[in-house]
């Protein structure tokens, strides 16, 4: 089993090492998230009830946009310098190598967002229980964003003006994750229980984990031709 996952681990390690050499890119995405989420209370004013209501949606939309920021650079540099070619020609599974890259993207852009979200939620006057649910929903949801995003990044690879196209392609696909993620907190506040929403989010994550790396690989092979 460990042998089977070796290419996955190799790809994760490689991309984390590269991210460590590009610290600014990592920090930019995180600061973008913090600033976008901070602008809302400043713009809306100190109405605690209203802020509490919009908090889950605001944090989730911030997370969506922050993920989108790093997606363009997920495959483009590797495409340019020939690394993707090398990966496609590797005797090891191309799909697992790509899955590793997606995992590294989540570790670099998704995980920091999840970790800092409770802190930002406090500004919206969310109670501790809601903060916990929100963080849990982001923990389940941000990997979905990276997985679906990778498919879009692969499809738009090498296309002129791919940044805008990527957003148009991917943001609609993020809607289910957004609805169930942000909805979990609201459902709990309304006394309906949050488990259903999180279960659906979990199911979505499983489906994406199985299919997204594979679809991404197919799209990348087309882009390499």
């Amino acid at each position: 089993m460990s042998g089977f996952l070796t290419p996955f681990r190799q790809a994760v390690r490689r991309d984390l090492l590269l991210a460590a050499r590009h610290k600014t890119e990592v920090i930019t995405a995180l600061f973008f998230f913090v600033i976008v989420v901070n602008l809302l209370p400043l713009g809306i004013g100190p109405d605690a009830d209203l802020l509490r209501k919009i908090a889950p949606g605001a944090l989730w939309i911030g997370a969506l946009l922050a993920t989108l920021l790093g997606l363009q650079r997920l495959f483009a540099p590797d495409h340019q310098d020939g690394t993707l070619e090398q990966m496609a020609l590797s005797p090891q599974s191309f799909t697992l190598l790509i899955a590793g890259k997606i995992m590294a993207h989540w570790l670099v852009s998704g995980l920091p967002v999840v970790l800092i979200a409770p802190l930002l939620g406090v500004q919206f006057d969310l109670p501790a229980r809601s903060l916990g649910i929100l963080t849990l929903s982001l923990l389940l949801g941000t990997p979905i964003l990276s997985l679906i995003g990778a498919v879009g990044a692969a499809l738009t690879l090498g296309v002129r003006g791919s940044g805008v196209l990527l957003s148009l392609l991917i943001l609609p696909l993020y809607i289910p994750a957004l609805i169930f993620g942000a909805g979990a907190v609201e459902a709990d506040l309304a006394g309906l229980g949050f488990e259903g929403h999180l279960s659906l989010l979990g199911a979505l994550l499983l489906a994406c984990t199985v299919f997204a790396p594979w679809v991404t690989t197919v799209a990348l092979r087309v882009a390499l031709e």
């Binding site: 190799q10 390690r13 590009h22 310098d81 690394t83 090398q86 496609a88 090891q92 599974s93």
Partner: protein, 201 residues
């Protein structure tokens, strides 16, 4: 043995070459010649299995390339134009990571030795963006010493190399052929290798 039968390559409306057939037995090398834009790189990419020909087929040891991709890729070392060198990583890291991705556990001592063989002493720990074009090429060529494969496909391997490095590379290719390997390369430079096959596009 690599054999190619009735290969046709089309890029958009333009046919680059048609009905190309040849065979490359073990221990032989093949030079792909032709003017700029004649389709040399396109041919090499088809031979490596990166792109599909418009017609015809390529077989390695009697098997179609897509039948058992992993087995063919285990036998193939392909060095393209760009060669996957990360500017922010050192030569040592670059080679270790690319070997790891191909499933060959990197041994730091061996990687260092290969870099020395190509005259990169003292550059092992320098980020690749500080290297000259020729030095980058040498880093990429060091893979030839580290990753065993019977079939080498090298796209313009002599570009930017100095006389000394060209001699080293020729020596390597000769050893590879003597050990029963085969090689396909394109080049516009002059270099000395024992007589081989040639295809002109």
């Amino acid at each position: 043995m690599l054999s190619v039968s009735h290969l046709t390559c089309q890029r958009g409306e333009r046919v680059l070459f048609r009905d190309l057939s040849f065979a490359l037995p073990a221990g032989q090398w093949l030079q792909v010649a032709g003017a700029n834009g004649a389709g040399k790189t396109s041919l090499l990419r088809i031979l490596a299995g990166l792109s599909e020909p418009a017609a015809g087929q390529v077989t390695w040891n009697g098997q179609g390339l897509r039948k058992d991709r992993a087995a063919f890729h285990a036998d193939l070392l392909y060095l393209g134009h760009q060669g996957a060198l990360k500017e922010e990583l050192t030569p040592l890291e670059n080679l270790a990571l690319s070997l790891g991705m191909e499933g060959f556990p990197p041994d730091e001592a061996k990687v260092t030795e290969a870099l020395h063989r190509f005259g990169l002493q003292g550059r092992e720990m320098l980020p690749a963006r500080y290297l000259s074009a020729g030095q980058r090429r040498r880093v990429l060529l060091s893979r030839l010493l580290l990753r065993p494969a019977p079939l080498w496909i090298l796209d313009e391997p002599f570009t930017a190399l100095d006389v000394h490095a060209v001699a080293t590379l020729c020596q390597l290719i000769e050893n590879h052929l003597a050990a029963g390997g085969s090689a396909i390369l394109t080049s516009h430079q002059t270099f000395s290798l024992p007589a081989g096959l040639s295809v002109t596009l």
